[in-house]
């Protein structure tokens, strides 16, 4: 078991390095650089050259990458090109906000999705099952910013239950954070529940077709016990994979929701950094996202293997 985890971690590190190379060089391929992106319409040859000289942007590309890499392995990610402050100082509060929202949404969405999926599987074919499926398809088909606007319109602008702007900052106390982040959290929950719920349902139904389940029924066990104690553990592998994918999305893909609710997270920071070609910030954000993705995937793999005794003790 340990050997497996160690192997996966080593592969993960290699993937991380490859990701950094890819991010750096594709950002360099984009037209313009930090100087021209910051100045926009106001750029002249003189002021662009001045910014480039100040920030060492006129050095060759590969040298700039190796400079960055040698700092990164020591934990120094350099300074943001825009504010000249260390990248880690800039990212920390936004990272905290993003993780807060992601965990908040995950704690609500995952149990809800698994519960609904299992119930739908138990009551397959019933009105409840059909209703849940239609609801899931609806929320998946509607783009998340539109869901966000709908929630904002009804709950914030019209009924004034929640604030329109989820502007949290470092000094916001915990319960206020829960209140401010409620609307973006609900939007995210609506977006990811559908996928996880349908996968749970499909996986459980597939396992329910096995002969040993029929045996469990013949033994006289109640339906809920059959599903939860006998079917679910064997259905876990695909469910865990889908959950991991959606959790990764919660960290990485929520820039639209952040923008609609003005929630200061990493998504908006990354978009701003890319459009202004603020390469140190892009690299640092990119690495963090890669770590999250790779980490969650490793976790999903390990859990899948652990839940299947045949894989746990290979002969």
């Amino acid at each position: 078991m340990l050997k497996l985890i160690a192997q996966r971690l080593a592969l993960g590190l290699i993937t991380l390095w490859a990701a950094s190379v890819l991010i750096f060089f594709t950002t360099a391929l984009l037209p313009g650089d930090f100087a021209s992106a910051m100045l926009g319409q106001q750029a002249t040859a003189e002021n662009t050259a001045a910014i480039r000289a100040e920030l060492n942007l006129d050095r060759p590309l590969v040298l700039r990458y190796t400079d960055w890499l040698s700092g990164a392995v020591r934990g120094e990610f350099g300074n943001s090109l825009a504010s000249h402050r260390p990248v880690s100082d800039e990212i920390k509060p936004r990272l905290f906000n993003t993780f807060f929202l992601a965990i908040y949404a995950a704690l609500v969405a995952v149990p809800l999705a698994v519960f609904l999926g299992v119930m739908a599987a138990i009551r397959q074919g019933s009105t409840f099952d059909r209703g849940v499926n239609v609801g899931a398809l609806l929320t998946i088909s509607v783009p998340e910013f539109f869901l966000g606007y709908l929630l904002m319109m009804f709950l914030a602008a019209h009924f004034r239950i929640f604030p329109v702007l989820s502007a949290v900052n470092a000094s916001t106390p915990f319960f206020s954070r829960l209140y401010f982040a409620f609307l973006p959290m609900i939007t995210l929950v609506l977006v990811i529940v559908a996928h996880m719920m349908r996968m749970t349902r499909a996986s459980v139904l597939q396992v329910m077709a096995s002969p040993y389940i029929e045996m469990a029924y013949l033994k006289g066990l109640p339906k809920w016990r059959v599903v939860v104690q006998h079917a679910l553990p064997n259905a876990l592998a695909p469910i865990v994979n889908v959950i991991a994918l959606n959790l990764a999305y919660l960290v990485v893909g929520v820039v639209v929701v952040e923008r609609v609710f003005v929630y200061p997270g990493m998504g908006q920071m990354l978009v701003d950094a890319v459009s202004k070609r603020n390469v140190p910030v892009v690299l640092a954000c990119g690495l963090i996202f890669a770590v999250v993705f790779i980490g969650l995937n490793i976790l999903a793999d390990v859990l899948s293997i652990m839940s299947n005794p045949r894989l746990r003790h290979p002969r």
């Binding site: 021209s36 002249t44 943001s80 904002m152 329109v164 923008r259």
Partner: protein, 529 residues
């Protein structure tokens, strides 16, 4: 804007007396109760400003890459926060006239090449230091020289020498005469800081508010400075800026009462604001315009007949409605707006005339293949506008292709390089400034490639001339030249549209820029009554 809205705006800018307003409102058929309601909203009773309160401003145009370093400003949030903390040398008033700020008075001599400025006395910085001429020389020099990355640098290039000629006096010598030289000095980048100051994460200035906190692209907070030199500015105790780039979120924020002021109101959903009785709209005619820049020095627009053909083939009223929902003025292919004091009223408004367009098209000798590079980076709705433009021109016999360019990298790769592309200008306080920035032969931003010697000569002449009766006809002639022969196709000017809560008083429209030209924080006061 309809007549009733225009009347309300006239009241807000103080162009009417109370009696005139009520009389004209009655003539329009507006009930007296509604009219008095408007007078109350406009703060027409104009009492003395009240001190105290906290102001919340919802502001767009912020990014996590912003900084409070004056050489880096390109968009609204940064300079609005900076204006609360720092002062300019010279400000622009709501009618585009220059008024003193830290420069008390100025005098030009020797053909407008030598300028002597007197500095306000008794001004202190937030750290207690007294303002003197050395601080001003340092602050201006941040934007000069080939190492400067400031957007104001090209406007200040004419300064050959600047020195502190006395403790409270600054002398500038220009390389060539310019009667409008005070306009570049009022550029929004040029702010005054103490000598040798560099700590831009904690800026110190002479402004009405001291720095509290700043999270780029997210929020900012400033607190009132008790020893501010200008007693007419700085009435509220604290100002909170919240960055709201998303238009729908910004509109909702003021409707829900979470902020007291917003700018860049979405004219398509403006009824949301009109429906709330505790909100008021503030509109100003300004110089912001959308432009289709045809390069006169490249094919196919080298041929002036083709330029004329395209100018007659565009339906300006339709574009004004589509782009700005009618909130603006028609453009006449000259970058000087109707609100400018030197606006040439005698120029005939070019109308949509497909027959005239066909006539000029026949005279074209070279190629008529046109490709318009369009992108939403130029202005909101630019790609849709390009398609409308294409449909207009088709009826006039001009078939051109619209090439959609990615917004990212538009200013790098397309603008100034493509033969025909979209662009925008925020407007300049002085007509000569607008022409120098974008229409002079050697201007860095000459997006229409307009290189006419007679134009350059006349522009230089107009800048040197101080006498009003001599320069006005020159500036009018410059507009005529661009209107007839230039490559600038300007269909419409946009109005600035802001929204405020009715408890915010003293908020006057400003034709230069929204949010009272960036100084709303220090100009308004809160009166709950």
């Amino acid at each position: 804007m309809n007549r009733w809205e225009e009347l309300q705006q006239a009241a807000l800018t103080g162009r009417l007396t109370r009696r005139q307003f009520m009389a004209r409102a009655a003539a329009l058929g507006v009930s007296t109760s509604l009219a008095s309601g408007v007078l109350a909203k406009a703060g027409y009773a104009d009492d003395a400003p009240k001190q105290g309160g906290t102001l919340n401003i919802g502001i767009a145009g912020g990014s996590t890459t912003d900084s409070l370093d004056p050489t880096t400003y390109t968009d609204s949030m940064a300079f609005n926060v900076a204006f609360a903390i720092m002062n300019q040398l010279i400000e622009t008033d709501p009618n585009n006239k220059q008024i003193p700020s830290l420069f008390k008075s100025w005098e030009a001599s020797a053909g407008a090449t030598k300028w002597v400025f007197k500095v306000q006395d008794g001004v202190t910085f937030h750290n207690g230091k007294t303002l003197d001429a050395e601080d001003i020389v340092y602050s201006v020099n941040l934007h000069r020289g080939k190492d400067s990355k400031s957007g104001a640098a090209s406007g200040l290039k004419p300064i050959a020498d600047i020195k502190a000629s006395d403790k409270l006096e600054v002398t500038m010598t220009l390389s060539e005469g310019d009667a409008d030289f005070i306009y570049p000095l009022s550029d929004y980048h040029v702010l005054v800081v103490p000598k040798d100051f560099k700590d831009w994460s904690h800026p110190i200035g002479t402004g009405a508010y001291t720095f509290g906190s700043y999270d780029p692209g997210v929020s900012a907070n400033v607190k009132r400075y008790k020893d501010h030199w200008n007693k007419d500015r700085g009435h509220v105790d604290e100002v909170n800026f919240t960055c709201i780039n998303d238009t729908a979120a910004r509109m909702n924020a003021i409707v829900a009462g979470q902020v007291d002021i917003i700018h860049r109101v979405d004219t398509a959903t403006i009824d949301l604001i009109k429906a709330v009785p505790t909100l008021a709209l503030v509109m100003a005619h300004g110089g912001y315009h959308a432009i289709y820049a045809a390069r006169c020095d490249m094919d196919p627009f080298k041929d002036p007949n083709l330029r004329k053909a395209v100018k007659y083939g565009i339906d300006r009223e339709q574009l004004l409605k589509a782009l700005f929902n009618g909130y603006g003025a028609l453009g006449n292919d000259s970058p000087i707006p109707p609100s400018d004091p030197y606006f040439n009223k005698d120029l005939e408004q070019t109308k949509y005339d497909p027959d005239k367009a066909k006539f000029y098209l026949k005279k074209v000798t070279g190629t008529t293949k046109i490709v318009l590079s369009a992108s939403d980076a130029a202005f909101n709705g630019a790609v849709d506008a390009a398609l409308l433009f294409q449909a207009n021109e088709k009826a006039a016999g001009l078939d051109f292709e619209v090439k959609k360019e990615p917004a990212d990298g538009f200013w790098d790769n397309v603008w100034l390089k493509a033969p025909f592309c979209e662009s925008y200008w925020g407007g300049r306080p002085a007509a000569t400034q607008m022409f120098t920035t974008a229409y002079k032969s050697d201007a860095a931003w000459n997006e229409t490639g307009y290189k006419v010697e007679a134009f350059d000569k006349l522009l230089a002449e107009a800048k040197k001339t101080v006498a009003e009766d001599k320069r006005a006809p020159m500036i009018k002639e410059l507009q005529k030249m661009v209107h007839e022969d230039g490559g600038a196709i300007i269909p419409a000017f946009k109005d600035w549209v802001d929204a405020t809560a009715t408890k915010v008083k003293g908020y006057k429209p400003h034709s230069m820029f929204d949010l009272c030209n960036g100084r709303a924080a220090e100009k308004v006061w809160i009166d709950e009554a």
